[in-house]
Symmetry: C2
Subunit: 458 residues, 2 copies
């Protein structure tokens, strides 16, 4: 496969991001093989061409060709923390504090979950994400096998953590662990992480056992911790330690973990995290922190100084209302400038680096996705910046961070497979996916069922 | 004209907003005449119908019919503070403090402005806004006659304030005032306000003269004041008064004024503003406050307690990067919850009320636009919420605030004229508008011209 004559976003490990015009991206199987300047003319098989090595494949190419003229190729976006099936609760829990959001709405609603219902939500989520150029999502939810099935069907890539609470009992924990093991051998596009819910819903003993399992089986952990500073303070008040200290003493940091949110990570926690920076990452979802009035955003500047990778995610749509990673990227840039009182911090290049390399590392896929270069997975979104809301373009990086819309995504590839073409989802029947979701919507948010899967009292 | 079988957003003066399904909106000339339940079937001219009075017009209707099935009609959005031609600088001044943004980029670039160039930018801005469902914009810029021409051509509604600085001299001020007078008699869709730039760039004497002119001619004033708390503190340090006190003692509050931003309005200013609450409004553009790390957002809760109307705007795209009022609405809700540490504040209904009634009042058009009801101007956006990113819909108000995209706007009317239909701009040649903007882009941001229109040192 060849994407011909496309501009390419280049995200170096340090320094400025840039856009290289008029490139050909060659793909074999699931990987990028070469990216090189477009030959001067399609029919000019012996002619000049762009020059600097690696090109030429297009001269004898006879596979599928996507015309990239006028489009910008970016690494497929990565949603580094979400609960995809919660799209089913979009708009059903508004204007509520975090306590009421959990205890009055979400956890009572989740009594209604069944495998089939989770599948319906996950299919909708995959459709929404792929159409917006999201090619990988890092999920934390119940019935993760159903989410895997939706991911495989839709063509998206996923890392799935089957959620468990200590309150659900050992059998439930064992089942979640077993699902994690199974998912890790299911499909090339699916990986899995152990999914204790949070430091405040899983006991230290269970966290320790999870860390042991993770080390023994080479699995990663994905959990919520220090979501707010209130949680950090509550942990100090009740146990005399911060959530990060809990993660250290239970061996979770040592095993390797993706920490969701971490808004309550304190300066005193940074030296701890620094010791495990090669296997710990944090995912930030700032729209949620503002909407729930959580009081803080992820301290990315401190984490960066400690060498801890940070990715960008949406969290679930029951609070983020979308799975739009473009929106999450923009919110990271805006809220980080606000937090540090420094408009020159979290630059365009740094923001794009978080969204690509940072999120890939957070997903545990730092060697495979997140950057467009030979040898990497062919996870690519082609973006059309020609609309009035992006024009004129003085800096395409600014367009990607501050003006692009998800609807500007035209074509999407995952692992070399075209999953969206000309804004149409090729892998699933969009109308069927939507009809299933609408049919199920009311049953899923029914609060009359009684009970709750958990109680929020960190 | 008839919009048939459409859901309608109802925004009462107090209480909950709601959506009424299956309505017919009848329009005669530039105004809405009736909104009533859709008759039971198109061909059923004698049949049941929805019932409660005022309907029936559809039974004998033979004008243009827009099928609203599956769409939601909302009051056309109002951008209550912007500098529309600055779309030409989109992405040309990134990652800069407010000082550097003004002094290193924007004010040196504005040396390059000419009437023709302003026209090019304004045409692009009108295209962007109309396609996103924005039917009114409140502008503050140079060469406002050119902006008026673009507004008239595009079909959008505008209130235009010709910008002036005291440093430009009396002739420039006189010319701006004369333009304001002329624009007020130019076209039914155009009004104008006097446009002193700010309390820190216009002398108290010039503000006093502006207030006198405003009172004498029945014109409104639109200016920037207390954009940051630093500005308020600088005003106190230099002059012993806050910017709001300057506006009071110069008579600007008494004359009636739209204050842009007001993030530096202090609690002690609120009793002052309360005295003029029937003729003062504030426009809030929070994306800008975060991006420029201005340290505060508009104190909407305090303003509301003082009875001061608040509208929502984008500010110019040289910092907001879009003229997307949906984005601005969302940012108001998110940042207000954050500011007040209260997730239950700035509810869906209150946010939508600011975006409609609040912005209409801020635009000086509170009796004419902002609400869909008989007698009001037929400024209407039809929104398609059927996409995967909005579904399922448990609450359409939540979709409007937290998940809708500008690209979900399908059809737009201003003053009863269809200006966008099926996402196509009918009033201007989109490709020509874009080509003109691209051709001009580099010349407009050329920093080699030398000089600056002003210096930022509040």
């Amino acid at each position: 496969m060849l994407i011909r004559n496309v501009a390419v976003l280049v995200v170096p490990e340090v320094g400025e991001c840039r856009v290289e015009e008029a490139q050909d991206i060659h793909i074999e199987g699931d990987r990028i093989t070469t990216i090189a300047p477009t030959a001067s003319a399609a029919g000019d098989r012996d002619g000049g061409g762009g020059g600097d090595g690696g090109a030429g494949g297009d001269r004898v190419f006879d596979g599928d060709v996507i015309d990239g003229t006028g489009l910008l190729a970016v690494p497929g976006l990565i949603n580094s923390h979400t609960h995809s099936p919660m799209v089913m609760m979009r708009g059903a829990a508004e204007d509520l504090s975090i306590e009421d959001w959990f205890n009055q709405r979400i956890w009572p609603m989740e009594v209604n979950l069944t495998p089939d219902r989770v599948r319906v939500g996950a299919r909708l989520a995959c459709a929404e994400m792929l159409l917006a150029g999201v090619t990988t999502f890092v999920d934390h939810y119940f019935h993760a096998d159903q989410i895997a099935a939706a991911a495989i069907e839709s063509g998206i890539r996923a890392d799935l953590a089957p959620t468990f609470f200590s309150s659900a009992g050992q059998d439930a924990i064992d089942a979640a662990v077993e699902t994690t093991r199974e998912l890790n051998h299911l499909h090339p596009r699916v990986t899995a992480s152990l999914g204790p819910h949070a430091t405040y819903t899983v006991t230290d003993d269970d966290l320790s056992r999870t860390a042991e399992l993770a080390r023994a089986d080479g699995m990663r952990i994905h959990l919520h911790a220090a979501e707010t500073d209130d949680q950090t303070q509550a942990s100090l008040d009740k146990h005399g330690v911060t959530p990060m200290q809990v993660l250290e003493r239970t061996g979770v940091l040592d095993a390797g973990v993706l920490i969701a949110h971490g808004c309550g990570i304190r300066a005193s926690d940074l030296p701890i995290l620094e010791r495990y920076a090669d296997r710990v990452a944090v995912a930030s979802s700032p729209k949620v922190y503002l909407k729930l009035a959580m009081g803080e955003v992820t301290p990315i500047k401190g984490l960066r100084s400690a060498g801890v990778p940070v990715g960008i995610g949406t969290d679930g749509a029951a609070v983020h209302n979308t799975l739009d990673v473009w929106e999450a990227i923009r919110m990271v840039a805006l809220t980080q400038k606000q937090r540090e009182h420094d408009a020159a911090w979290m630059t365009l290049s740094d923001t794009l680096r978080l969204a690509t390399r940072g999120s890939a590392t957070a997903a545990g896929l730092g060697n495979d996705v997140g950057v467009l270069e030979p040898g990497r997975q062919a996870d690519i979104a082609l973006v059309d910046l020609s609309g009035p809301h992006n024009q004129p373009i003085h800096d395409p990086r600014a367009a990607l961070v501050y003006s692009v819309r998800a609807s500007d995504v035209v074509t999407v590839l995952v692992a070399g497979q075209v999953v969206v073409r000309d804004r149409q989802l090729l892998t699933m029947d969009r109308d069927e996916v939507l009809a299933d979701a609408r049919e199920l919507a009311h049953a899923l948010v029914d609060l009359s069922t009684g009970g709750a899967v958990q109680h929020y009292e960190p």
